[in-house]
């Protein structure tokens, strides 16, 4: 696990453009992210953050340009790439009428895990949901859903973890658990996180990216960031409106 994540440039984006009709949600986006990095993506609503993550996770095809994650092209090597990435979204991406255990076992089968039951049990203990494993997900609180969603994303031990506003709507206990899990696996993974919370995003990241109107406004190493100047740039981009 994590072999590719530790090599240079786990994420390589070159001239990435994605259009919906005449509107360009992503417009000539380029950046490189080294293995083991934590990238926080900021930007106003409709800036193109989620579209960028959808392209990098193979859920959307780009209109032009290229993107490689873990060395795999997101279009031509999508199936191979999907073994190496995980996604935690503000949506739990879980089947409401299956139990916690059934949900994880289903995705374990989809990823072809060797011993799905053992891995599922291990993760349910990690996210403190083992006692609710036989309960239908529909009965879970928002925090419990997000914890189970984390377990789903980590099932196949991905190298790169994409987080789309993962803290949205979480209670303090769930935030604590998510922080703990990120800290626990941080050394072995590359993270790409969308956040509206500047403090949280800057606290976690090794690299920061501001995107507005589908274009990269700023991409910097965390060590090179002047926090006050960064906040000013962010405030200015929020005022630029949607793409």
């Amino acid at each position: 696990m994590g072999e590719n994540a530790r090599s240079d440039n786990t994420v390589e984006v070159r001239g990435l453009t994605r259009a919906f009709g005449v509107r360009k949600a992503l417009n000539d986006v380029s950046f490189d992210l080294p293995g083991g990095a934590f990238l926080s993506i900021f930007g106003p609503n409709g800036a193109g953050k989620t579209t960028l993550v959808k392209v990098l996770t193979t859920l959307l095809n780009p209109s032009s340009g290229t993107a490689r994650v873990c060395g795999f092209d997101v279009v031509t090597e999508a199936v191979e790439l999907r073994h190496r990435i995980g996604l935690i979204s503000h949506n739990p991406l879980l089947y409401q009428d299956l139990t916690a255990e059934e949900n994880l076992l289903f995705f374990a089968e989809m990823y072809g895990l060797d011993d799905p039951k053992a891995r599922v049990r291990e993760l349910l203990v990690d996210v403190e949901l083992d006692h609710r494993r036989l309960d239908v997900v529909r009965t879970f609180s928002r925090g419990m859903l997000q914890r189970l969603s984390i377990a789903r994303a980590l099932l196949h031990r991905p190298d790169v973890l994409f987080l789309d506003e993962p803290y949205s709507g979480l209670d303090p206990h769930a935030v604590e658990i998510l922080d703990g899990l990120i800290a626990q696996i941080r050394g072995d993974h590359t993270f790409v996180m969308i956040s509206h919370d500047l403090d949280k995003g800057l606290e976690l990241c090794s690299h920061a990216l501001i995107i507005a109107n589908g274009k990269v406004v700023l991409f910097e190493d965390r060590d090179d960031i002047d926090v006050e100047q960064f906040r000013e740039t962010y405030r200015a981009t929020v005022g630029t409106g949607v793409a």
């Binding site: 996770t57 859920l59 999907r82 073994h83 991406l93 009428d97 289903f106 072809g112 789903r152």
Partner: protein
């Protein structure tokens, strides 16, 4: 992607759909209720037709009108669970070949459709054929046409339900696309069912001629749906 992992994924998706349907009974209940209510309306509509009216002459058409609209109701529901909470993204994010998703969803839809059809048929017979002349040919011929036509309905329906699940007014959109594409199959299914129900000299040959039509439609449309599925989900 090895063949064995594709088979494992196929079974996982199908099992997941079966477990959820057994738990919620959303698809089978809505389709079954629709079929039952349609039959009641048919019975009222034909109440004044008199004892001399041979209901078998219109029965094949009535059956297939009910089953086509019933299947649209079920197909519309078949992707609701995937859309709910963004599950379709998690499914598409897993390393599964898109045709595997198609065949698993197709198999599930076919199974649910057949269950309701085979439960509806005795009710239909009870309501319309009680005290009248029964089927002219062996009833298993009706079972053959139900199965054959349901393959085509489920194949095309699964593709169209995937296409329309994220569209505005998906119910209308599915109907607009589904009914015209069903026309050749519907024509053949009604013809085969008529031959099976009426009986008499030459009807078995007519039945198999229509069934060839149904089989040809199934092969062409299921292969077309299989070929297009990657394109439909891979926006």
């Amino acid at each position: 992607m090895t063949q064995s992992s594709s088979w494992r994924q196929f079974k996982a998706i199908l099992r997941k759909d079966l477990v959820m349907e057994l738990r919620t009974k959303e698809m089978v209940t809505s389709m079954g209720l629709y079929a039952l209510l349609t039959m009641v309306v048919y019975q009222i509509a034909l109440a004044e037709a008199g004892d001399n009216f041979d209901v078998r002459l219109v029965m094949p058409g009535l059956i297939w009108v009910a089953f086509i609209f019933m299947s649209m109701l079920g197909l519309n529901r078949s992707f609701v669970h995937e859309q709910d909470q963004g599950c379709i993204d998690a499914l598409l994010l897993s390393p599964v070949d898109r045709p595997v998703i198609f065949f698993a969803k197709f198999a599930g839809n076919l199974l649910f459709l057949l269950v309701v059809e085979f439960l509806s048929l005795p009710v239909f017979s009870f309501l319309f054929l009680q005290g009248r002349e029964g089927f002219g040919n062996p009833i298993w011929l009706v079972a053959v046409v139900l199965f054959g036509a349901s393959v085509g309905i489920s194949g095309v329906g699964t593709l169209l339900a995937t296409m329309t699940v994220n569209t505005k007014g998906k119910d209308v959109m599915l109907s607009v696309l589904f009914v015209p594409l069903m026309y050749p199959l519907l024509r053949a299914a009604v013809g085969a069912t008529f031959a099976a129900v009426i009986g008499g000299p030459g009807t078995v040959e007519t039945f198999w001629a229509f069934m060839m039509w149904v089989a040809g439609y199934d092969v062409i449309m299921v292969l077309a749906a299989y070929g297009l599925y990657e394109f439909v989900v891979g926006v």
